[in-house]
């Protein structure tokens, strides 16, 4: 599973740092490098764009894995250039950005939007598989998540817009419920869907506020 990111429009990036003249750039060597959104090449391209836009880039680095605690040491090595900047423009995913912010007093701005946690289905094709809702139903749905794969997160699908195996919301998206039915049929357990899935407890999901688990030693 990796974080899937997309570059924000450059105008939006410029707007977020409009008060700042001197910028320090951070990329990430893991997810955003894989997706060509925040690796070395993209950081250097951003440097050039910022300079063209009249900003001064005090320095840059690509942290191997920005969401790792080692980010603290990586930032420490570059203290001088970071301190010379008004703010940090960050090109890891949100997890990396949050980690960077833990270890610096400088304002940190995201240059990317973190869209979802997903996997690379085929080369260059990143798809979402799980929204981490805290109430897994994969056992009932032939390991295809209806909450993630169905545009309406139906628990008792498919809706009336499932046509030729595709979702009505996007004809390029497979209907998650068609996939569920196909797999359950192949496994000879389609009759499991005769049961009405009860209402979901969303308190384990985002609705409950930030989630935290503390392991007992």
């Amino acid at each position: 599973m990796i974080s899937i990111t997309q570059p924000k429009p450059f105008e939006e990036v410029l707007e977020s740092i409009s008060q700042d003249q001197k910028i320090y750039l951070v990329g990430c060597g893991t997810c955003t490098t894989t997706q060509h959104t925040g690796g070395k090449a993209e950081v250097l391209a951003m440097k050039e764009k910022l300079e063209t836009a009249g900003k001064k880039v005090t320095g840059w680095m690509v942290i191997p894995t920005a969401c790792d605690p080692l980010t603290q040491q990586a930032l420490a090595v570059n203290t001088r250039e970071i301190e010379a900047a008004d703010s940090i423009l960050a090109m890891p995913c949100s997890f990396g950005i949050l980690t960077i912010a833990l270890y610096t007093s400088k304002p940190v701005y995201p240059a990317l939007d973190t869209i979802f946690i997903g996997k690379e289905q085929s080369p260059g094709n990143f798809t979402e598989a799980c929204i981490q809702c805290g109430g897994c139903v994969l056992g009932k749905t032939a390991t295809i998540c209806p909450i993630t794969r169905c545009a309406k997160s139906l628990f008792n699908g498919p809706c009336g817009g499932s046509i030729n195996g595709k979702c009505e919301v996007n004809p390029n998206t497979p209907c998650g419920w068609q996939q569920i039915i196909d797999r359950l049929t192949a496994q000879g357990r389609l009759d499991q869907l005769d049961e009405i899935e009860p209402l979901k407890d969303w308190s384990t999901s985002l609705s409950g506020g930030p989630r935290q688990i503390i392991l007992e030693s």
Binding site: A151, K152, S153, L154, F155, N156, G157, P158, C159, G160, G161, S162, I163, N164, G165, E168, V169, C175, Q178, I181, L190, L193, D194, I196, E197, P198, L199, K200, W202
Partner: protein
């Protein structure tokens, strides 16, 4: 009787029911709903008020239903789970009953991406089948989802929809069975044009005896122009418009007349099918044709409310 509504009386007495759909305005005019009520009153047993259909903001279904009632037209309140969570949905059910609205149709709703606020957050706290079960539990157990008691009576006649033209075809009947199991009293289907497929679907329904457990009203959507037929075929997910219908409308001297003729033929066929208990006319923006459809289909007079043979 579960709710004693006119629609329930007509259906349980075994008469062929006629319902229609009225879309509320994209504005504040009560007159728009009142005018539709005036047109439809003698021709329907109940009228659905849609709930922000196609995810376009309109006057609320609850308000539209109250306006219908004031015009002596029995409302069916449509309720989608797209925009409201379980707190708001249950609250609106209580309010509807307090206002004398007892037919409620449960839907998940068109995805917000199709509407005029595509950036809206889709709620989808539950789906339509779960909403049906919630309503049944409110009525039969007088309980909220949380298990607490509801004060007062909860008379409800619970409706649901089904689309025999969506995929996977075989599973559409399973899904109907799930809606019945959840507590649906009546079903209004997606618009029927493809009679072959609809006939097949009804056979599967009657083979399983589902028509004995729920009242099925077949959806009818009159088409007034060839362009409209093509649009529905190409752009409305889950509607099959056979080429023969498009061609007839294209070749017709008077497309509206031809559209009416096609609609009447569809109704005639539907009425021959065992297990169909009525029709639901969705004359989107063409409500004035409904009197013609109902009278020419020989479905007049409608049973007078309260005077239906028990």
């Amino acid at each position: 009787m579960k709710a004693g509504t006119n629609l329930e009386k007509v259906l349980t007495s075994g008469q062929f029911a006629v319902t229609a759909e009225a879309g509320p305005p994209k504005g504040t005019s009560a007159r728009v709903v009142q005018q539709k009520a005036e047109i439809l009153r003698p021709y329907c047993d109940a009228v659905n008020i849609t709930d922000n259909q196609t995810a376009v903001v309109r006057m609320s279904s609850l308000a539209g239903c109250v306006l219908l009632k004031q015009q002596d037209v029995e409302p069916v309140m449509q309720m989608v789970t797209r925009d409201r969570n379980r707190i708001a949905l249950q609250s609106d059910v209580l309010g509807a009953i307090a206002l004398g609205i007892n037919n409620i149709l449960c839907l998940t709703g068109d995805h917000q991406g199709f509407g005029n606020h595509p950036a809206a957050k889709g709620v989808f706290d539950m789906d339509s089948i779960q909403l049906i079960r919630v309503l049944k539990n409110m009525r039969d157990e007088k309980k909220f989802i949380c298990g607490e008691d509801i004060s007062g009576e909860v008379p409800l006649f619970i409706g649901a929809v089904e689309n025999p033209f969506a995929d996977p075809f075989e599973f559409r009947v399973n899904r109907l069975a799930k809606k019945i199991k959840a507590g649906a009293d009546f079903i209004q289907t997606q618009a029927v044009y493809d009679l072959v497929r609809f006939t097949k679907w009804m056979e599967m329904v009657t083979d399983r005896g589902l028509d004995k457990q729920v009242h099925i009203l077949a959806g009818v959507l009159p088409i007034k122009a060839a362009g409209m037929a093509r649009y529905m075929r190409d752009s409305v997910p889950g509607i099959n418009v056979p080429q023969s219908i498009t061609s007839r409308l294209e070749d017709a001297k008077n497309a509206k007349e031809e559209g009416l003729k096609i609609t009447l033929e569809i109704i005639e066929h539907i009425r021959t099918l065992p297990g169909v208990h009525g029709i639901h006319i969705m004359a989107v923006g063409w409500e004035e044709i409904i009197p013609d459809i109902v009278s020419k289909a020989g479905l007049l007079p409608r049973p007078v409310s309260g005077k239906v043979p028990e």
